[in-house]
Amino acid sequence: MDTSKLASTPLHRGAEADLSLATIGPWRVVIKHRVRKEYRNPSLDRQIRHDRTVSEASIIHEAKMAGARVPSIVGIDVENNAIAMTYLEGTVARERLDEMGISEARKLLRSIGEQIGLLHAAGIVHGDLTTSNVIVSASGTPSIVDFGMSRRSLESEDRGVDLHLLQRSIVASHSKSVSSMMNAMIRGYEQTAGRKIAGSTWRKAREIARRGRYFAIR
């Protein structure tokens, strides 16, 4: 697939990739293009962008196979280090949570927990799991996006970081009822990941919080 000739409109500029919107056949797609980094030696740069593009696409595909709601891979453009994936209609969970009351928010978090449980049970950790990386559809179902930092891991430490980062991002919108929100989340999580994974992951998440290493900046 060659994404370089697609008509696209810019959507977002991240640290390592540019996102833009395009249309391929019947699909509205997001093109995630890993851009060249001036500071990096050219051959090293080529290698890294290539490896990460392939790895991200394959992890998203694995997550899909595990039953999680994530974008569908429409194509991989290895020459241009780009991935085309389906565009998910909706609002980011961070904004939705801002407007929601407690009971509605708990319901959403439970369902986000189910999604994370599916990923973790499949041996996938997200690596940057904040409420900005969850898209909520009009009907209220959440999908998880941006697997740029994701990895295959069976370590409770890595899963714990996911839950901890999610909690930190909830503090911003529901600081007074964080524990009630996280309880709802962990119930959903337990349902898909199972008791054993849920127990060890949640223990780690609390340990990580005590270390005070990952903190919210805004």
Binding site: Y39, R40, N41, L44, M149, I217
Partner: protein
């Protein structure tokens, strides 16, 4: 006028900084181990003890040969090598009780950042601290520096020093590696490990060392090692910069003397519209001036210590120190 005394590892330094934050004197002496050998704490401390009095005397002497009386004595309380730290602390306590001037404990890493900020007139940067003891990406929140990213194992300074030692290149390792790297052309594939905002260098050290043992071309290995290690840090810095949205990027510490590293971090800053503030090479390595500069700021914030409480702290995390003087005005 604040007298600062540095003696955390290989350098004994003394310096005066005046009330306008100007460096009046800065005198240093550094212990250099023979090629292929690391710093032996006792040997380093013997060197520091042997030069201490002449360094302090020189730092307290003005250009016209008159002697200057400091108003405050600051010493590097940590982190560092115990035997070395105790030399500087002993000198600091002695001067403080003899001159009857207040004593201020300084965190060596915080001091690296303070002198860089003073010289650059930086207010509230994303700070990159790279040395033998630290490899951290920091932002100031509330009263403290917070670690936004850091090495998960060895520091960038360690990596370069340990590799240089294996390759029998002279100390400081960073400079030797960069000289060799300038002659290198071929990029060898080495492990590139960035995890979020963190880096990990131990795998890179192992791979570079084994390439050396396989009789690889030294210049190419140095070139590849430097390109890989610096690019990893630059990527972690870029990620942190996007997340924290700071408008200034500062780089300090011994490895900040590297022009290739500065080139990379500067490119990251420019790409995200942030200004770039590298510490001048003469103040990048350990020196008395950093302690004097930080000590003055700490004293103004009322952070003095009594002689009986003036311990040294060999292991002291940078994010556990109160630094109320940032943002600077």
């Amino acid at each position: 006028m604040c007298l600062g005394i540095e003696s955390t590892a290989h350098t004994f330094g003394a310096s005066l900084v005046d009330d306008e934050d100007r460096i009046v004197t800065n005198v240093n002496s550094t212990y250099r181990p023979p090629p292929g050998i690391g710093i032996h704490p006792r040997k380093a401390s013997e060197h520091l003890a042997s030069v201490a009095d002449e360094i302090v005397k020189a730092a307290l002497t003005a250009k016209d040969d008159s002697s200057i009386d400091p108003d405050v004595i600051a010493y590097a309380a940590g982190p560092g090598l115990g035997p070395c730290l105790r030399i500087g602390a002993t000198v600091g306590r002695a001067l403080s009780s003899f001159l009857k001037k207040p004593l201020v404990p300084v965190h060596h890493g915080v001091a690296h950042l303070d002198i860089a900020m003073s010289i650059a007139k930086s207010r509230d940067p994303l700070a990159v601290l790279v040395s033998g003891g630290h490899t951290s990406i920091l932002v100031h929140v509330g009263k403290r520096w917070r670690v936004y990213g850091e090495t998960q194992d060895i520091t960038l300074g360690n990596l370069l020093d340990m590799f240089a030692r294996e390759a029998k290149l002279p100390s400081p390792g960073g400079l030797s590696v960069s000289k060799e790297a300038a002659k290198g052309v071929n990029m060898i594939r080495l492990p590139y490990t960035v995890k979020g905002n963190d880096v990990a260098y131990s795998g890179l050290l192992t791979a570079a060392t084994s390439a050396l043992q396989r009789q690889g071309n030294l210049a190419d290995i140095c070139f590849s090692l430097q390109e890989t290690a610096f690019a990893m840090l630059a990527e972690a810095v870029e990620r942190s910069l996007v997340q924290t949205r700071r408008s200034e990027v500062l780089i300090a510490g011994g490895v900040a003397a590297s022009s290739r590293l500065k080139e990379m971090i500067s490119s990251v800053a420019a790409d995200h519209g942030a200004s770039f503030h590298p510490v001048p090479v003469e103040y990048s390595g350990d020196c008395g001036a950093q302690i004097a500069c930080s000590g003055r700021l700490a004293y103004e914030s009322g952070l003095t210590i009594s002689t009986s409480d003036s311990f040294v702290i060999p292991r002291w995390r940078l994010d556990e120190v109160d630094v109320p003087w940032i943002p600077r005005n």
